[in-house]
Symmetry: C2
């Protein structure tokens, strides 16, 4: 049985302000929790329905466990249909991004992506294609938003996300800088090479003026039909597939 | 000024049951409305803030116009941040899908896609790549869901969506049937040819047993990293890009 103050605390973490203030975020679902347990993230506590107890053996002893009922879970969950188990995870101290991580690799750069679902889907897609690092502008949506976490499907454990001042950071990048624009070379024909960064922009505005000037290789997914643009996560997926095809051929 | 019953009626269309009962759905945002006006869809009425009046010249005279204030728009909108204009559109009578539409074309087939955002993004992506028709199983999410409409970004005007009994329909398809599966030929190497249907499955369960048996060419997007799967709309995007690259080379 959870106390009112426990419920209030967990519910406060539905909001960005309190996640930041308390240094914790929420993950939900047994699959996600099982991926986070052995990761570098540190779990604070787990709230589970009795039916999920069996999945929680051999946990590190510093994780607090609370059996809850459906009514309690509904109160603390961020989901319309709670998944039977929820955990609080400590927000890790931000590592400094090491420039050598760029070498022999592709890195995604997100300039102002706003939709949490898009953000999470991009993290999941990066994980599928073995992209380890994503650099975000400071106005990009927070990764600990519950909708982002949900869309990552556990991939946040394996992809590092950094928030940096993009113009300052890009001015120091010494490998090819690609950018997804509506007017560029065809993504099917461009020489991707073996390392680079790929910039993707905001859902409505695209890549900002101060970032666009760093793009050395504008790239476009050739359009055949009539849609005005592609969703940013779809563009990321298609371009990651192109990069991956090229790296692994 | 809208009457209580007008507001109640429009709000009822937020729900699938009443969309079906009343044969209408909601679209929002000036871009979307401008794409729907000249399309084959028939608009019933438009609700706009004064600032958007100028965009509404030369409309067909059978569309009823209502100037509303912010408070009224907030009540009838399906969005947290309403976009200044909203329209009701008649749900068209369903055409019968003509088998000849399959010829010299690729057609997407969705087997149980549940997330309205994924559905809308797939429609928008199909439109980008010039795919005209999407066939859905009867348990696939409804296209008139406000989140689907929003994610299509107007592309619903140009892509036809049909709900059919998939096993019966697939048993009559005479062109190659591709299916996105975790174990299949590499999407980079498979012979796509000039016509075919591509089946994509439900977010959690994938393609159902009764549909999977129709797949002649299982296809997989090669994984380099560790994510368990890709989001279905991302898979659709990557595979549509492959098909398009092949058709237009």
């Amino acid at each position: 049985m959870l106390s009112k103050s426990q419920i209030g605390f967990i519910k406060s973490l539905h909001q960005k302000k309190y996640r930041k203030e308390n240094g914790m975020f929420i993950i939900e679902g047994i699959k996600s929790i099982i991926e986070f347990i052995p990761s570098t993230y540190q779990l604070h506590s787990i709230y589970y329905l009795a039916e999920n107890k069996a999945a929680l053996s051999n946990l590190p002893s510093n994780i607090k466990l609370f059996e809850v009922n459906n009514a309690e879970l509904a109160k603390i969950s961020t989901l319309q249909a709670p998944q039977g188990i929820l955990a609080l995870v400590h927000i890790p101290k931000t590592d400094i991004f090491k420039p050598e991580a760029l070498k022999n690799n592709f890195t995604l750069v997100l300039d102002g992506v706003q939709d949490p679902g898009n953000m999470g889907t991009i993290i999941r897609t990066a994980d599928w294609f073995g992209i380890k690092n994503i650099i975000c502008s400071q106005n990009t949506v927070e990764i600990y938003n519950p909708k982002t976490i949900q869309a990552t499907m556990g991939s946040l454990c394996r992809v590092n996300v950094y928030y940096l001042d993009l113009p300052i950071w890009l001015s120091q990048v010494e490998i090819p800088i690609f950018g997804a624009l509506l007017e560029g070379s065809s993504s099917y024909d461009i020489s991707w090479g073996k390392e680079g960064v790929l910039i993707l922009g905001n859902e409505g505005q695209g890549i900002s003026g101060e970032v666009i000037k760093f793009i050395q290789h504008p790239v476009t997914i050739p359009r055949v039909g009539s849609a005005e643009s592609l969703n940013v996560a779809i563009s990321a997926g298609i371009l990651c597939a192109e990069i991956s095809r090229n790296l692994n051929k």
